[in-house]
Symmetry: C2
Subunit: 230 residues, 2 copies
DNA sequence: CTTTTTTGTGTAATTTTTACGCAATATTAA
DNA sequence: TTAATATTGCGTAAAAATTACACAAAAAAG
């Protein structure tokens, strides 16, 4: 018996936090989707998300969802838009505060259930439940804008990475191609990359230099306000 | 007797839409504030805003508030962040979807009551009710970012304006100074300005050229994706 | 064993940005 | 009334950034 114990003078919408979880496999951007097990939209894919508890913030809620779905606890989670269409959920009026999270694929342990949660390459994403198609579009746009101001890409790459991997990431997010040498020069000139380990003597031409994100240099740059132009 | 007629199985937060209303008087950015007449924070200044009705979107709610406070009905209103701190309102759990609006000061008829609503220059804004100080900081930041991608400034200026007025607006929002001649060149090269009227023959050097925003040129540019660098 | 791909390092040409100069004439101050 | 100051339009030379490529070594692929 569902008792209706929480009563208000005026109608209140329900509030949820949804989380678009982005990963990167070295070549393309992936998104983690959940197959819905219950109505509405049973059997359709959707973003992880759920009702915000009365004593948690939206970000805490999104992080909780993220932890439940991927086991990750310290990823970047950021709110990007709140969707308020009146009929976006057939059950009741639901306002959702949409977030995106950037996670390293390698650190994601299988998830709860491979049947239920699955990574999709951008090009293979099916039509989604609720207004999640629209949410995805906005999340991707947001990612594009954000990567020009903050090196969020480092959240998506492993600790140590090659310049080519970094370039692939930028190309995947921005959906453009860069000249390899120009990209290389621009990134190095920014000064936020450090060589992960001294290049071995015997390193051949084909062995790529490994880089690591230089957090302190980045913090310095960010304060001055920088912008990546592409 | 306040009857509690709206009941739910789980607690629901209240949802409000607040609206940071920006205006520009030719020299500096102004913000419209309301003096609160009731508790909590009675007597403190705050942004216009109110509870979202169950059959309106957040943006509709913000536009309704804007119309009530300024009489304007077709201004740009855009959501920029949702504030969800658990104790941001002492009465009950309230989530607010914050918007900003850009209005032409000249078109704002006095408002309801000069005693209650008042324009404040940025430097004279008092400490605000609730978490509105934080909301203002984020709104100003958002404005700074937005003006580099979209000529939102035109919403703040009169139909017809001089290059100096436009420069003042950019300087006020971005809090920097530009070289007058470089600003002039950069703006003209963008091609989104049209001379409002052919310069009269007898126009003296000191009579500034009047410009008007060229909407079609702008739409074209926007599609290609442009960015104002400053 | 030949061909293709990948990586590091440049560099010259072009474009963009920056920092000013100058003349004409309103406006303000004396 | 007159002198000083401020505002506007139009340039331009120097500096900086971006773009478009070249080349060689060696691993990987066929």
């Amino acid at each position: 018996m569902s008792e209706l114990n929480y009563c208000y003078k005026y109608p209140h919408p329900a509030v949820t936090a949804d989380c678009v979880i982005f990963g990167f496999d070295g070549v393309s951007i992936k998104v983690l989707l959940i197959k819905r097990g219950i109505e509405p939209y049973k059997g359709k894919w959707a973003f992880p998300g759920g009702f915000m508890k009365i004593d948690e913030t939206a970000e805490e809620c999104a992080k909780r969802e993220l932890a439940e779905e991927t086991g990750l606890t310290n990823a970047i989670v950021e709110q990007f838009y709140t969707f308020t269409d009146v009929n976006r959920d057939p059950r009741e009026r639901v306002v959702t505060i949409a977030h995106y999270a950037l996670v390293r694929l390698a650190e994601v342990k299988g998830g709860d259930d491979a049947e239920v949660a699955q990574w999709f390459a951008q090009s293979q994403i099916p039509s989604l439940a609720f207004d999640h198609d629209r949410i995805l579009r906005m999340a991707l746009n947001c990612l594009k804008e954000r990567i020009c101001f903050e090196p969020i890409g480092f959240e998506l790459l492993p600790e140590v990475f090659t310049m080519t991997e970094l370039q692939n990431l930028y190309e995947a997010i921005l959906e453009v191609k860069f000249d390899r040498r120009n990209f290389y020069n621009k990134m190095l000139k920014l000064g936020i990359l450090t060589e992960a380990e001294p290049r071995p003597e015997n390193a051949s031409r084909r062995t790529p230099t490994k880089y690591r994100f230089n957090a302190s240099k980045y913090a310095e740059l960010k304060q001055k306000g920088f912008r990546l132009e592409f």
